[in-house]
């Protein structure tokens, strides 16, 4: 049952000419107009089409409107309400979810007797709903387009109805011409339209048909309408496999057909015979053949083998459509609509081979993009630094992640096991810049850190003294000190970095350690700018830094610039800014870090220096020395790692001690964003409001990290040390690094196992299942095998072995886990976990001093805790910087609904 429509169809077709598909007279009603997709698409359609949307519906939202540049579109609860308000429409557009489409169509058909067309944009409509929709439209004399269609558009009348043909700039694709366009693919509708311009063809009406089982407006109807449209001199049809919509067509105007999808035949899974009953199949090859028969050609058109007739050509690649069309049209004496625009040749807009040498034919060089994209690329290329999308960063991190399977944490995608092979200064640079410094950069970093670690008489060390004397824990002592490294302390250094960035950002300098002629920039520098970099009458520290720089091999454009701009008298802060500008420049230019991160580098640097410096009591910050080491000597010859060791132990480390200490710090860097220390850092950033990154106080964020460590987190390393001291107190051990120690480790282990077996038994009998556990053996993840291994401990043990470093305490631990198993205390051989490595390295460092009673157990505990803080400040600096760049204001809070009251 169907209404009477155009002649020659066994079903209703209302549209006689393509000129009727999308006209300026059409008025549109959009169902679900305030849905996500419609909200972004409908305004563009409305504006492009001269304001053709009469109203939209959205249940329960009567009185609201959709704003557009052509004025607001009113929204009603239902179609009936919209009509009652005096609006009229001829075309319905459906943006409803799939389950609502059938009802929406029924609503429009029933409510509006003037309805002529329906365009269904929705995807994934069920077949049963599609067949019902067709029946409803047929009975009521309505032409339907879709479902899953991108709509219809007319380049002559400048009307677009339905979906987003041409995207947000329809005028780029809908260019007036003589070719009618029909496509199963929404995207290809406009892609083909753009391709056609390369041969000088524009379009009349474009129809995106959708590719559901039911295509309501199909090629048969399209070609009928083309025949009756005087504007359309030819047509292009794009079809995909499936369905018999293209069989038995009559094509009267020159046409190029593109059939794509031969491969799909391979995916067809046999199920019964119903599908093949209709004839010879509906795969791509069958469709190609149907069209070849219409056109009287015996093959597919390709540029190499152009097969075409006056009637048309069949292509299997959309890029061949324009050329084939031109040839077919030429046989009909029809010339292109305008001069060809652009070409379809390969044009690279962005490229980088990352240093690989590609064969010439593949080494496509970037060229200027077509307008307006060239301008956008120019704007983007002038943007300095990375820009990270902001999101809630509670319990999330872009800096670190822990693999729950291996328990190994990565920082900037590098395992901390690998990071532990790098020095403290290298890891601090890596934390902030996401790549390790080269040798020259490492020297600059050491200079920047060490220059500010010596603070005789500075309130930073005096405040730390006061906190220490009040018996505050090491983290509280350092928090007190860091609190003093506020914004004012780094204002000049940050200002220097900002000035250098401002002056040099568009100079295309990839590395600031290369040569660059900055004479023109120097000339333009104002007196005020020079003054900001200058120390006035000279600065003692600046002079020492300059002197050290003179002895270093590497050069820096920015350091030299600052020195020259101030006639050799820069401030020490200006030099710090210049050094960090040097180090941060490549990362900033490669957009690895943001501008905000770049400007904060001197602040982080001074805080690192303060943490190490404040670990040393003020009395050891003598005028010209630190812990008795001349400051000049430190500046010129010491690494920051060595200074950190000095601050804890009071002497320079031996080569092997430096290696072990470095390893130790690396292992502590991070345990992922869930650890309390990371949470403290992130909470502190969040509370300052990272959406205004310039307001975030880096020193306060570091205090967040420090206050979120304590005797249970960071300070617990001493437990294992105390355990080991207890085991070895009677051993007369001299050198823990000597393999020939002559001590029967297995005997000590067996003695302890025996004791522990009895202890465990008696505690269990007493009903205490919370008996003391042996520190640093066993792990909740690395368990259950006959012999268990913590891969992190194994990694470090191998590294130590490779370096010829022996550690008696680690050896003892391996004896202990075997002894515990053999004396049946444990069911299998427990692993020695990574915390043991940290304890044994520390104890090895302090053993001699302990044995000689030059240091107390209390002091070892302080040193152990402080060592943890040194290592963890690397990871927390990365977390702070990451949260500052990605986080939202107060994003670490927990909603009230998710917290509980425990009364």
């Amino acid at each position: 049952m169907h209404k009477k429509g155009a002649e020659g169809f066994p079903y209703y077709v209302g549209i006689n000419s393509l000129a009727e598909v999308a006209t300026r007279e059409d008025r549109v009603c959009v169902l679900n107009i305030l849905g996500t997709e419609s909200r972004s698409v409908t305004p563009t359609s409305h504006e492009f089409s001269g304001g053709n949307v009469a109203f939209g519906t959205s249940p329960g939202r009567t009185g609201q409107s959709l704003p557009t540049k052509s004025g607001p579109i009113p929204v009603y609860n239902s179609v009936k309400e919209g009509l009652a308000a005096g609006h009229a429409f001829s075309t319905g557009v459906v943006y409803l979810p799939p389950s609502g489409v059938k009802d929406g169509v029924a609503e429009m058909v029933r409510a509006n007797k003037d309805l002529k067309k329906i365009i269904i944009v929705t995807e994934k409509i069920s077949v049963s709903d599609a067949r019902t929709i067709r029946a409803i439209c047929q009975m009521n004399g309505v032409d339907a387009f879709g479902g899953n269609a991108l709509g219809v558009a007319d380049a002559w009348s400048r009307v677009r109805m339905g979906g987003a043909l041409g995207g947000s700039k329809p005028e780029e694709s809908l260019i007036k011409g003589s070719i009618a366009l029909f496509s199963n693919s929404g995207n290809f509708t406009t892609t083909i339209a753009v391709y056609l311009t390369s041969e000088g063809w524009g379009t009349t009406t474009s129809i995106s048909s959708g590719k559901d089982v039911y295509i309501h407006f199909a090629p048969r109807e399209f070609l009928h309408a083309v025949d009756n449209d005087n504007r359309s001199k030819g047509s292009v049809i794009y079809v995909e496999p499936g369905g018999y919509y293209e069989r038995g067509l009559r094509i009267n105007k020159p046409t190029v057909v593109c059939v794509v999808g031969r491969w799909k035949a391979k995916l067809t899974k046999a199920c019964g015979h119903a599908g093949s009953l209709a004839g010879s199949g509906d795969d791509a090859r069958a469709k190609e053949q149907w069209f070849m028969n219409y056109f009287g050609v015996d093959g597919i058109y390709t540029p190499e083998n152009p097969i075409f007739s006056k009637k048309g050509a069949v292509v299997t690649n959309i890029a061949h459509i324009p050329e084939a069309l031109t040839k077919v049209m030429a046989l009909n004496g029809i010339k292109p609509d305008f001069e060809p625009r652009g070409s379809l040749s390969l044009k690279c807009w962005f490229g980088n081979s990352q240093g690989l040498v590609l064969p010439d034919e593949l080494d496509v060089k970037p060229v200027e993009a077509v307008a307006p994209y060239n301008e956008q690329i120019e704007i983007i290329s002038r943007q300095i630094g990375a820009q990270f999308p902001r999101q809630t960063m509670k319990d999330a991190s872009g800096a670190s992640m822990m693999d729950p399977g291996t328990q190994v944490t990565k920082i900037h995608n590098l395992s901390i096991l690998d990071a532990s092979k790098y020095s403290l200064e290298e890891n601090l640079v890596f934390a902030l810049l996401k790549s390790f410094p080269d040798q020259t950069e490492k020297e600059f970093a050491n200079l920047a850190f060490n220059a500010f670690v010596h603070m005789p008489g500075d309130p930073v060390v005096l405040a730390a003294d006061a906190a220490r004397e009040a018996e505050s824990s090491p983290n509280s002592v350092l928090s007190t000190a860091v609190g003093i490294i506020g914004k004012a302390r780094v204002r000049d250094a940050k200002a220097a970095s900002a000035l250098l960035l401002d002056l040099f950002q568009y100079e295309k300098i990839e590395s600031a350690t290369n040569h660059f002629d900055y004479s023109k920039i120097l000339k333009k520098l104002s007196a005020e700018q020079k003054k900001a970099l200058s120390s006035g009458n000279g600065n003692h520290l600046a002079a020492r830094i300059i002197s050290t720089l003179g002895k270093m091999g590497g050069k820096s454009i920015f350091v030299e610039f600052v020195i020259e701009a101030t006639n050799g008298k820069p401030s020490s802060d200006a030099l710090l800014g210049a050094i960090w500008a040097t180090l941060g420049w490549p990362a900033l230019m490669k957009r690895k870090i943001s501008k905000a991160s770049f400007l904060n580098l001197p602040w982080h640097s001074k805080i690192f220096s303060a943490i190490i410096g404040a670990s040393v009591p003020s009395k050891k910050h003598e005028k010209e020395s630190l812990c008795g080491v001349p400051f000049t000597e430190i500046l010129e010859n010491w690494s920051f790692t060595e200074v950190a060791f000095l601050s804890l132990v009071g002497r320079r480390p031996s080569t092997i001690e430096l290696f072990e200490f470095t390893l130790l710090l690396g292992l502590i860097i991070s345990n992922g964003p869930g650890t309390i220390s990371a949470q403290g850092s992130k909470g502190a950033v969040s509370a300052d409001g990272p959406e205004q990154p310039e307001r975030v106080q880096i020193n306060k964020c570091v205090i967040g990290f420090l206050t979120h460590t304590g005797f249970a987190h960071g300070g617990n390393g001493y437990e294992a040390i105390a355990f080991l001291i207890d085991q070895f107190k009677d051993s007369k051990l001299q050198d823990p690094g000597d393999r020939k120690h002559g001590i029967n480790l297995r005997a000590i282990a067996d003695k302890y196992s025996k004791w522990y077996s009895g202890y465990k038994k008696s505690e269990k009998e007493a009903g205490n299942i919370d008996y003391a556990k042996i520190p640093c053996v066993n792990h909740p993840v690395f368990k259950g095998k006959e012999v268990n291994v913590d891969p992190r401990e194994q990694f470090v043990s191998r590294l130590l072995e490779e370096r010829g470093s022996y550690n008696i305490f680690l050896d003892f631990y391996h004896n202990l886990v075997r002894s515990l198993f053999e004396s049946k205390v444990t069911k299998n051989v427990y692993c020695v976990n990574v915390d043991a490595v940290i304890a044994v390295i520390l104890l090895k460092i302090f053993w001699k001093a302990l044995a000689e009673k030059a240091i107390s157990g209390q002091e070892v505990e302080t040193a152990a805790f402080t060592t943890f803080l040194y290592g963890r400040m690397i990871g927390c600096a990365a977390e702070i910087d990451d949260h500052l760049n990605r986080g939202r204001n107060m994003d670490t809070r927990t909603p009230a609904s998710q917290v509980s009251f425990v009364g």
Partner: protein
Amino acid sequence: MQLTGLLWGAKLLRRVDFPAAEVLGPEASVDEIKDLIKRKGQIFIKPIFKGGVGKKGKSGLIGRASDIAKALEEKERLYFAKHTHGNTVSKADGVTFEGGVPAEHEVYFSISDSTEYRAPVMTITHHGGMDIEELPKDKIRVVPFDPLTGLKSFHVANALAELNAPKEIISPLVQNLSRLWTLYNNYGMSMLEINPVRMSTTTQGRLVPVACDFKCSFDIDDPSWKRLDIPAHLFASDYSEFEQEINQLRTYQGQSDVFVINEKGTITAPTFGGGANALVTELLGERATISSDFGGNPPYEKMFQISQIVFKYWLGQSNVLFIIGGKANNTDIYETFRAMADALRWFFNTYGPRPIFVVVGRGGPNLIRGMAYMKDTLESLGLPYRFFGHDSAMSEVVNYALKIDEWMAREGRRLLAAKKGIEV
């Protein structure tokens, strides 16, 4: 989503009181099989395939037995039978034992949606029990009908009359066949086929149609099939593990259609748009790991999850990550590229860096912002890349990706791995 065989077919047919041959599942005991043989004279032993498998009869995959020894022999032969049809290889998991239905007449019947008539159609012939497409057209009737009123008795009666079907079968078929529309229409089917319907004689001498086989397809976009309480694992063989994981994200907003093309492919191409999908899959051929359509403006979160799954399964083996689509109309390039770039970073963080060349061809809203984000990510991961805009012919970009793949296989992968200090 296809279903074949009477084990489940009989259960579905019972919902509309359509008679089916008696059937026992693979768990049937020897006594039960013996009893079935005793009552029916002979039984048919058929392998159980999950999903849709056609033309079992011609492949010798239907056993026939009149005694228990033969029945058990056939059970052993067919229990794990392999069946190749077209490109599909299926492996059975069990057998059914179906009671024989003695009959003089065999009827073919199906309902499907026809793209020729743009309506549901009934196809019927009384020359059933054979491959229907081999019959001359005048021995078959294809009858379109109105979906609003459904398949009616008169449709069946008229078709059989036009076919000059034996008079005695018309009335029983007219009474029963139209009920199958209810099964088809109410439970989200897109094809239902019974071949053969055997016309069994009752003790009163009347003919009754009995379904002796059953096939149907369900429309993946129609949730009505869930009312049938069919275990989801019956459809599992239709999809690979990868496809199943992606399909869990299937919602109407944003396409997520994927197929595995070659498990040993070296180009992984997240493709946007049905047209691009068809073109790119065609041109990449066996070099592609998957064929995909992720268009339809997927939101960030969905695109991120899809990319994670795609990368997890395929990036390790790939030479080229090829992101390709035409000039998008409403897909936000920034959102989709940001999601893919973040997923790429996640992949490298989780599974370690891989030597991959990235080729991009795309156009659409927020194009340059999206490309810039992707570019920055690739720079930070140290991956080589080339991006092309929509003014480069898509096929040329595909050809470029193919050539890069060849070069990567030849030496690029080794060079890049050495440069990054990772395994090839």
